[in-house]
Symmetry: C2
Subunit: 628 residues, 2 copies
């Protein structure tokens, strides 16, 4: 089995090499600052890559911002410390690092352990069943290991620095934010934002007002984010600067229904619920409507966005059979989150998280409310005052202080933050048993609460409005990762006409293609070149990006060149009145007039008509005449 796995790895790597070679050779992307030997984890998008990216972002705007009337904002990357202190990034946005004790080279501790276990499993044919299952277990719980546990494993397995075989330091946390200083005094610390979301949260009050003080509404932001990775790898997948597109949908925590849910409820796709993962099952096709009604997905709004993300990714050209929505396991999910699903796309590196869709409850708005003192809340005004029963939790600080000493504050906060249901459960347990077990997430442990430590009751009050902190549902898109997976899903090879070489093709949908069409004068003569220029002008007027190739190279070679850029249509100028229009994947050709050709290209690339419609409408052209 290890041999089969190894062969699969070789295949995957050969495929990846073919894709990456084409991408780099055609300047879809390239290492940044190459003439200075580059910087790990920084890449440039060259012309076709840049065009793909701007197409993907334009479609994101259309599909999400415009269709849902979202409020798009644009905030700076430079962020003062206080904001990221409130969000938790200053204290917790870290990875565990080990250092080569002699050279000082840094590595991610979990990566070294992961590589070691994988290598053993894939290449060591002699390991025992017992050892194999131990390594598998380590891989499964990798994300959960503490610094100490990682250090113990690294020592136990005798893992050394990969480049030098020198001994390694114990693991210690390294903050992944790029730090800088704002203003000339050197006293004001700042960071390059690690995500765009915080810019939206701190503006909640103004955005809510802009929306007429009404919920739900969504804000969105596209922009650069920065993570000073310890040791970037996997090419475009783990980089130090990347484009994020994030949505923060604010909703009443008591009503997470979505008015447009019915538009997506019948979509079916691969889902991988927590329960199935834990019990060792595979991902399976589930109708999103069913996932919500059965409580697999927590609420309609979360389900709606999962459906919309599915549509977004598949319209772009992501293969639906290699796309799954995986629910976070209990150990992955943030303590405050209600539910979280990752859109994972399978590529040669495995299943890659490309979009995260989380119900983050009220966490972020509460954190900024607390730090800034500005209440980030919404209000529902009642038509007439209502008598409401309110949950009142009153911790008895004296008793708690005696019992928990320095931890008192955290226990108090956790008690006060209890949800209705948890509080009422505790109330009845306290009444029946006199004490209750209680998990305090900020302490990371369970404590025992005695009856005299807290009173929980429901009291009646008259209220004119209900003031509450909205929940936020956050779909967050790693644009670079989506694009890289799209490259892999779009790539294929086919033999050249004489069969002596393999030609590369990207089967991008027109929506994504960096250039919509090419114009080739069949032979180098002035007449044809003038027709080509006339066509070029009409393409520009129609807003279609194109490329003219007037080199004398054979048409077959010119087709191969643009197939490699994923250009869907090619116009060959082979007369002064009509031209040949060729489709990339089918290689079918039709004859159309010079006057019409721009319009036809526009209709096909805008999706108003399909290539098949055109095949019915226009005479086909025999390939033999031009393909060589």
């Amino acid at each position: 089995m290890a041999a089969v796995a190894a062969a699969a790895v070789v295949n995957r790597e050969a495929f990846r090499q073919a894709v990456v070679n084409t991408l780099e050779r055609r300047l879809f992307y390239l290492p940044s600052f190459k003439i200075y030997r580059g910087v790990a984890g920084l890449y440039d998008y060259g012309p076709p890559g840049c065009a793909v990216k701007s197409n993907v972002l334009a479609f994101w705007r259309q599909h999400f911002v415009l269709e849902e009337n979202m409020l798009e904002v644009d905030c700076p990357c430079v962020t003062p410390e206080v904001v990221l202190k409130a969000s938790g990034h200053v204290d917790k946005f870290t990875d565990l690092m080990v250092k080569d004790e002699k050279t000082g080279t840094c590595y991610r501790a979990d990566h070294l352990l992961k590589d070691f276990c994988k290598e053993k499993l894939e290449k060591d044919l002699k390991i025992t069943e017992e050892k194999a299952s131990e390594f598998k277990h380590v891989l499964a719980v990798l994300d959960d290991l503490s610094a100490e546990e990682l250090g113990t494993k690294i020592k136990e397995y005798g893992i050394t620095a990969p480049d030098t075989k020198n001994p390694l330091s114990a693991p210690y946390p390294f903050n992944l934010m790029f730090q800088t200083s704002i203003g000339p005094s050197g006293l004001s610390c700042g960071y390059m934002r690690p995500e765009t979301a915080q810019g939206i949260f701190v503006n909640f009050k103004d955005l809510y007002y802009y929306n007429g003080n009404k919920l739900p509404f969504a804000a969105a932001q596209i922009g650069q984010a920065f993570r000073n990775e310890i040791s970037p790898r996997q090419g475009l997948l783990r980089v130090r600067e990347f484009t994020l597109a994030e949505i923060e949908h604010f909703v009443d925590p008591e009503d997470k229904s979505h008015p447009k849910f019915s538009e997506v409820e019948n979509l079916e796709f691969l889902m991988f619920p927590r329960q199935d993962q834990v019990s060792g099952k595979s991902a399976r096709i589930i109708r999103i409507g069913e996932a919500v009604s059965e409580g697999i997905v927590n609420n309609e709004t979360l389900g709606y966005f999962i459906g919309r993300v599915y549509l977004f990714l598949t319209y772009l050209g992501i293969d639906k059979d290699r796309l799954r929505f995986r629910q976070h396991l209990a150990n992955e999910i943030a303590h405050y989150a209600t539910d979280c699903w990752d859109a994972e796309i399978e590529c040669s590196y495995g299943w890659i998280e490309c979009v995260g869709i989380a119900d983050r409850s009220a966490y972020d708005l509460r954190a900024h409310t607390e730090k800034s003192g500005v209440p980030l809340v919404a209000a529902e005004k009642f038509a007439e005052p209502r008598e409401v029963e309110k949950l009142v939790i009153t911790p008895v600080k004296k008793e708690l202080g005696l019992a928990f000493k320095a931890n008192q504050k955290m226990v108090v906060e956790a008690l006060e933050a209890m949800e209705e249901k948890d509080a009422m459960d505790m109330k009845s347990t306290l009444e029946s048993k006199g004490e209750a077990e209680f998990y305090v997430c900020t302490l990371g442990k369970v404590v025992t609460i005695k009856k005299n430590m807290v009173t929980i009751s429901r009291e009646k009050k008259k209220e004119h409005q209900r003031v509450f902190t909205p929940s936020v549902i956050e779909p967050s898109f790693g644009i670079g990762r989506i694009i890289y997976c799209l490259y892999e899903h779009s790539f294929y090879t086919r033999p050249s006409k004489d069969g002596d070489e393999q030609l590369n093709v990207f089967r991008f949908p027109p929506l994504v293609a960096p250039i919509k069409c090419t114009v080739f004068p069949l032979v180098q003569n002035q007449q044809y070149e003038e027709v080509a220029k006339r066509i070029a002008k009409s393409l520009t007027a129609a807003g279609i990006s194109y490329k003219i190739d007037i080199t004398g190279t054979s048409i077959g070679k010119r087709y191969a060149r643009t197939d490699e850029l994923g250009v869907p249509l090619a116009i060959t100028v082979d007369s002064t009145s009509t031209v040949t229009l060729r489709e990339r994947d089918s290689k079918q050709q039709i004859r159309v007039s010079v006057e019409e050709v721009a319009t036809i290209v526009k209709e096909v690339t805008d999706g108003l008509n399909t290539w098949n419609d055109m095949l019915w409408k226009y005479p086909t052209h025999s390939a033999a005449a031009t393909e060589d």
Copy 2:
């Protein structure tokens, strides 16, 4: 005269306050991280501002990248030190700063001096003619003053810290780049890029290859740039993070003609040549074709871009009477630049540089060639080998060393870098007079070169190709500044219907408008709201951004609200079959069917038809019926 000037200042400031109030109230922009009391020089674009920005950028891509087939790239903001060392930013991208000697607060030295002189000129009615002309002179040469000279003036005038009146330190340079550290070792210094251009220069070799090893071609980049300003002011005009859109057009230094120059040569607009500025004249209207043929503008390519920039800005809605192209004075222009023009837009802050269009000669590519050791050059292959006469400059290092000691290296480099004409001039001067005056820019002074210090000759060689460093012509757009000026140029007020208040309007062209149309059900009833929803759906399908306002507010108030956002068209649903379509500036209204309305809005906002065309085609509607 001082009184008149003071009144003008008050007017300008009142106008600015009205614009800025509207912009902030309607969330076009807002101070970033407001709930934490903000950070000077950082602003967010709220929903309408973000939409305006993305419209401006989309049009920039259409007008420049697509129309000129430019190679767009996308490089990271995080930049390693070596790149910015080569470009000169590490050593020279500084402003002179003074510190409050007691509190440590920092100020820009030139700003304090400028404010002092301006205040004296505007508000001190008792100053002598002589003093006045001294202050005017200081203002004119402000950018030229050295640290010492600035310090002397500040002392002489007794300028103190504005907030505390404490004494100030002597001026010293402060580097404006945000510094950071790349990777976990802490050893690799990096900066947030101060401009996007360097990312293009370091990729020249790959881009040239991508373009089939042919010149000319242009690369372009849109992205964030960062400048850690000492004391940001003037709102959106001087900020610490901003969006730049830059073009680097690479061209053979021996042929700077442009094939499409004839398309712009008849454009006429305000130009302000160096000569006119020096001799105290005003800007005047010049035909760009004339400016190039008379040598006012150095070459056709530079002229072509000036013309294209003029078209770009005026299409956006910049008032052509408050737009001028000002040539850099001898003291402003970089020593390596051949010519440089700024597109300046007049707003309440005065004439603001919004686009710089410079012929930077071969400076940047040479700097990176030298630092990286990778030749960033182009080659022109000859059909058959050519006998060429080549300029050979051979500095005699021994003699130069004796004469210039430590400065020898800089004199040698300056001699070797001489252009053909300058070298031949020096040769003949040396021959006739035995010595020649020579300006060494890196020393900032003129030295005397004797005959025995250099030999200059022309030698014949056989060559198969000509290898050269291309010149680069760089139009560089400050997007935030353009947008701010656009806001001021688009803003006006008009009385409300009963004349009791002034209403604000932005007269954005549809191209720029953040939202293309609004939909108002006349009264709150289900029938009208359903029609509104149907219209909304057809607008979304047509790709038109819109806003529905179903509040019961009067139609007049709702119109006023969207006029303030610059929405060009409003649809009022006042029946179930036909609706009223109203144009923002004329307030004219027509009646159109529910089915047609989205198409009509699309035609007008896409510029396929004008509002006037529609007035001919559809029945007009009396304003009285709905405007209240």
